[in-house]
Symmetry: C2
Subunit: 343 residues, 2 copies
């Protein structure tokens, strides 16, 4: 069923039917109701391509995921982020267009094509690195976009929504310091990723403000896997001067760290404290009465929702200045921390 058929069925012109459905004022309520009812009954909906062609809008938002950079899909955060974003898209009639860049192909070329083909109205940039080139590129290309995270070294204005990773890790480190910990290890994500870079800044800033010297030998940076948490922690525990506390970048890493601690016959929260960042992923409920881990929490799903809202505002209002938003984390005390051992 297309517009022509529907209008013939109703003995109306295509214009009137279109206007009735799109809420234009120059059609009587009686007619509008009649049209809407018929559309529903006949399961009519305007052809997306035709509508897009006529209006110049794609009603789609692009997410380009590169797998050459293997880290992207290592990202367990992806599912929850997409769920948050997509929910809001749906409410506003937008579709999410996911483009996976196969290994060996050029991510920028994908953006160029999206632009040339008018496939999307805007794009979302995920997992920015410290000096992410996509921001400058997309600005030049002239396609509206928003970044989930930031790129520290990028000084031009652009739209972003980020968690305050720096303050989160300041607070986490301060918290451990208050418990008497003086030797605190850091199991960070890859350091070229902006979020990891900022967390490290927070960690170092807190230590410095308490007069503790920064010791690169207990600071690590890697993909955030369980075995990474396990390996580094096991090594640390065996070292000459083991830490009394560990700061990890994700629950997965924290699980690995905990495994190493237990295997060493020590108790988490007594012999060794662990604080982790927690993206509140739906399959890691760190939310018992007393949570498993003391954590800086921030829901990646809610971040996605908010980011989508900002982006849709930008599309509706192309001349607005790029919005930015910084989300603060919540520090929740769980079972994984306690006073530094007397020693």
């Amino acid at each position: 069923m297309n517009l022509k058929e529907l209008s013939e069925l109703l003995n109306l012109s295509q214009t009137t039917v279109s206007r009735a459905l799109n809420g234009f004022p120059e059609v009587s309520e009686r007619t509008r109701e009649r049209v809407q009812k018929a559309a529903k009954q006949n399961n009519y909906a305007p052809n997306k391509a035709a509508r897009g062609l006529a209006t110049g809008q794609a009603l789609s938002i692009g997410h380009v995921i590169s797998t050459t950079n293997q880290n992207e899909m290592v990202n367990p955060v992806f599912g929850d982020f997409v769920a948050g974003v997509g929910e809001v898209y749906s409410k506003h009639g937008y579709k999410m267009l996911l483009s996976i860049v196969p290994p060996g192909e050029d991510e920028y070329q994908v953006y160029r094509e999206l632009k040339a083909q008018s496939t999307v109205d805007a794009v979302v940039v995920q997992s920015p690195s410290v000096d992410d080139g996509r921001i400058e590129f997309l600005n030049k290309l002239g396609i509206p976009f928003i970044v989930h995270g930031r790129a520290s070294e990028c000084k031009v204005p652009y739209a972003w929504l980020d968690v305050n990773n720096r303050s989160a890790f300041v607070r986490a480190t301060d918290f451990l310091h208050d418990l008497g910990h003086r030797r605190i290890a850091l199991l960070n994500g890859r350091e070229h990723m902006d979020f990891a870079h900022r967390r490290q800044q927070g960690y170092e800033s807190s230590l410095s403000s308490h007069g503790i010297k920064i010791d690169p030998s207990i600071m690590f940076s890697s993909d955030m896997t369980e075995s990474y948490g396990y390996q580094r922690t096991a090594e640390l525990l065996k070292s000459d001067n083991p830490p009394t506390a560990i700061l990890t970048a994700s629950i997965i890493v924290a699980l690995g760290a905990r495994r190493a601690v237990q295997q060493a016959g020590l108790t988490v929260g007594q012999d060794i404290s662990i604080v982790t960042h927690d993206d509140r992923l739906s399959y890691f409920h760190n939310t018992a009465d007393v949570p498993m881990f003391t954590a800086t929490k921030s829901s990646v799903r809610e971040a996605g929702q908010r980011l989508a809202e900002l982006l849709i505002q930008m599309i509706a209002n192309p001349n607005m200045k790029p919005p930015t938003e910084l989300l603060e984390v919540e520090l929740t005390i769980g079972n994984s921390t306690g006073p530094a051992p007397a020693n």
Copy 2:
């Protein structure tokens, strides 16, 4: 730059330019090269809406994810599956269209709209339940689709690609039996999910064939979270008649189980054996020289790739009978299993 402008630039008709770019034979090689070069230089690509309108093809494939059914996005497998699928889509010029159904809204209505609007050429059905209604619905709706998994109770023919979950769990259980284990617990996924249902069948079938009575008190079914693995295992270990081996549905659950075992002061692979299914997610490398867990392995990413290829074949060839494909798993021996304790 659109087709008209490009053709004027080249002093050719739009037809000729279009044909040159789309590989039609009735244009000379010299002209074709000239056109292709100009297109590249001017960064021309055909407008997607216009092309879709003219050809009747959307060049998009839909994935509809319902969040009312919270389990879907709890699914940590999502990211890797999408990566596999998307890679293949890209190679064939397809885009992936992700539609998140917000809580409280009707998933079927989303499919109806996709159909009415001709937004997609086909859809992928993920995470089918035992009696999944989507299969019958989509058959009636008349939109090509393929299921990742199967629906045991659905008897009409439909396209699917699945892992042989039954045989996987037969093998895993047999393996434990061969090691002398007689009391084997099952930490399954939600039982209405088809994959979980089939795994349970495999488990039960193996036990029965060895004359072991099935004991529902050591069989569990839940969302596959770490704390689920931990809780159930902790309880099992405290029970009167604890198992000597545990079969888990995912690495995440296995990690929880391992935590409980260690906390009870026991050793995995000695006091208690664990076998898990492993979807080979990119952020859980269970691939050391000797892997952490003995596991039935099957890459969800590769499954996605293969499934995408099947679906694209179906689109190209609408009358083919629905393809089906069953992937066998690999059983790899890791550190988490050993002979049943003498006792």
